[in-house]
């Protein structure tokens, strides 16, 4: 029986398996997005439309730092404070509007600054009441973390801006480098928080970006689900988009703006994403905090939700809300600024 078990199954599955929507491009896109909290590429909006939109979102967040390709250098900070010692602006380049672009790069190694950030994040997350910190192990996707040494390091990464040759498509096709790159601080593995009484752990995504390397506010690449390459998060409008060839995924945003105690500006977002047949749902709480020195951080608490079957084989969507609210995420951002990003 065992000898022909595999071949017998293969014969059936050769004809029974439905087509897959998974593509290497799609996986890499999502992997980059999780790794750096965004992968974005620009659409084909006109120069005028983009400048209008940039001006609009600048107004929406009250004139955040780095308000344009040259804005960061001309206007050092939202609060008028001088640049911190050693902080260099990384103003975005002027690029043709009829082409699309995306970021390629990722986390690297820790340095003294990022080690200090890791210490602070470990202290903050391990003190969250009613939650256990988890991370992914080599052979186990969820391993409890009880010591700082096992907590994922914040690292210094560098990412470059490349032309996307797949204009208008859902995948990214690497084209020529624009020559622009920026450092950022992120993690190679995301920490997770398992809250008491919740069905599954939340995934916490953290990424710091330097002054001038982004435009403030949210903006979605046209027709897609990712952030426009100039922005740190996708938009605050409800979206329907295609994900890996699956049409009809919807994302709803609830966005709010506020001020922090130290002159920060905060964009708070509650995001819900559903697939077409509503067999899964993902909820995110996200804050983008723009520091007075021009740097910014994006923190996302991602809680997946799942279908549950009752005794009568009926399925209901079991909602799991992110354990950390946007106020708590913002408080963490206020408490742990990045210092100099270089």
């Amino acid at each position: 029986m065992t000898k022909d078990f595999g071949p017998a199954l293969d014969r059936e599955l050769d004809t029974a398996s439905p087509p897959t929507a998974i593509t290497a491009d799609g996986i890499i896109h999502k992997g980059r997005r999780q790794g750096a909290n965004r992968v974005a590429y620009t659409g084909t909006a006109s120069v005028i439309a983009v400048f209008l939109a940039a001006g609009l979102v600048f107004q929406l967040v009250g004139g955040g730092p780095g308000g344009g390709p040259d804005g960061a250098q001309a206007s050092p900070s939202a609060s008028g404070e001088p640049d911190p010692p050693g902080q260099v602006a990384f103003p975005l380049p002027d690029l043709p509007e009829d082409k699309e672009y995306g970021w390629i790069g990722g986390g690297g190694d820790p340095n003294d600054t990022t080690r200090g950030l890791t210490d602070q994040w470990w202290a903050a997350l391990s003190a969250v009441e009613g939650a256990e910190v988890l991370t992914s192990g080599e052979n186990d996707p969820m391993v409890p973390v009880t010591d700082r040494v096992d907590f994922p390091d914040i690292v210094r990464g560098v990412e470059g801006l490349f032309e996307d040759l797949n204009v208008g498509g859902s995948g990214f096709s690497k084209g020529p480098a624009t020559g622009y790159s920026r450092p950022f601080y992120t993690m190679n593995d995301w920490p997770m928080l398992q809250f008491d009484g919740e069905l599954g752990p939340d995934v916490l995504e953290i990424a710091y970006y330097p002054k001038g390397s982004y435009l403030p506010g949210a903006r979605t690449q046209p027709g897609g689900s990712y952030a426009d390459y100039r922005h740190l998060t996708e938009g605050c409008e409800d979206l329907t988009y295609n994900a890996q060839g699956r049409a009809g995924w919807t994302t709803g945003f609830e966005c709010a703006e506020s001020d922090g105690p130290g002159g920060e500006r905060v964009l708070s977002m509650e995001i819900t994403t559903n697939n077409p047949s509503r067999t899964s749902e993902h909820r995110y709480n996200r804050v983008v905090v723009y520091y007075p020195d021009g740097n910014a951080v994006v923190i996302t608490d991602h809680a997946p939700s799942w279908q549950e079957r009752d005794d009568g084989h009926n399925a209901t969507l079991s909602g799991t809300s992110p354990g950390l609210g946007t106020d708590e995420l913002a408080a963490l951002a206020f408490r742990i600024p990045p210092g100099v990003i270089a």
């Binding site: 000898k3 998974i22 290497a24 790794g35 052979n139 190679n188 919740e198 067999t279 799991t320």
Partner: protein, 174 residues
């Protein structure tokens, strides 16, 4: 990720996705859930590629899939079922002849009647054709436990399959 490593990853995804998806399906009996599990595993693999490529990638990604789909630890919050129907299950195999189609369906259906860990052990051992040691590594248990699970799984399958199906599978009575 460096360009050469990303090219390696891309090659892995292109070459292994279908096999992983079928593996996940055999473990859970639900194509939609299998697809989600494989996608989750591959995205996590992307973040861990530099580390995983230095060890053995296939067991690493299978371990993630098994944990997502099967382990008791995850099952309590991953009890998804299909409600759409349109994408839920596999289309029935095209009948070459009635008898063989019935046999195939019976074999797949019988597999889905096994307890999840028995099912995973049987799939890893006899569909993936992995040795006991590697199956134990992926399932996070001892080799003795794997032998026990497969023995019980095969015994259950023999009880579920009809005599005619068993007769059609070489060595069924041995």
């Amino acid at each position: 990720m460096r360009a050469e490593h990303e090219a390696e990853f891309r090659e892995f995804v292109t070459g292994r996705t279908e096999r992983l998806r079928v593996f996940a399906y055999l473990c859970c009996g639900d194509w939609h859930r299998a697809e989600d599990a494989v996608q989750t595993a591959l995205i996590r693999l992307y973040g861990a590629w530099n580390r995983a490529r230095k060890i053995s990638v296939d067991p690493y990604v299978r371990r993630i899939i098994v944990n997502v789909l099967i382990d008791e630890h995850r099952l309590s919050w991953f009890r998804r079922v299909n409600i759409g129907g349109d994408e839920a299950g596999p289309a029935r195999a095209t009948a070459v002849d009635g008898q063989r189609t019935d046999q195939r369906l019976m074999l797949t259906e019988a597999l889905q009647h096994l307890p999840r860990r028995q099912r995973a052990a049987v799939v890893l051992r006899f569909w993936e054709d992995l040795p006991v040691e590697q199956t134990a590594q992926i399932m996070g248990c001892s080799t003795g436990a794997v032998k026990n699970l497969t023995m019980r799984g095969l015994a259950t399958l023999r009880g579920l399959l009809t005599d005619s199906v068993l007769d059609d599978i070489q060595g069924a009575t041995s």
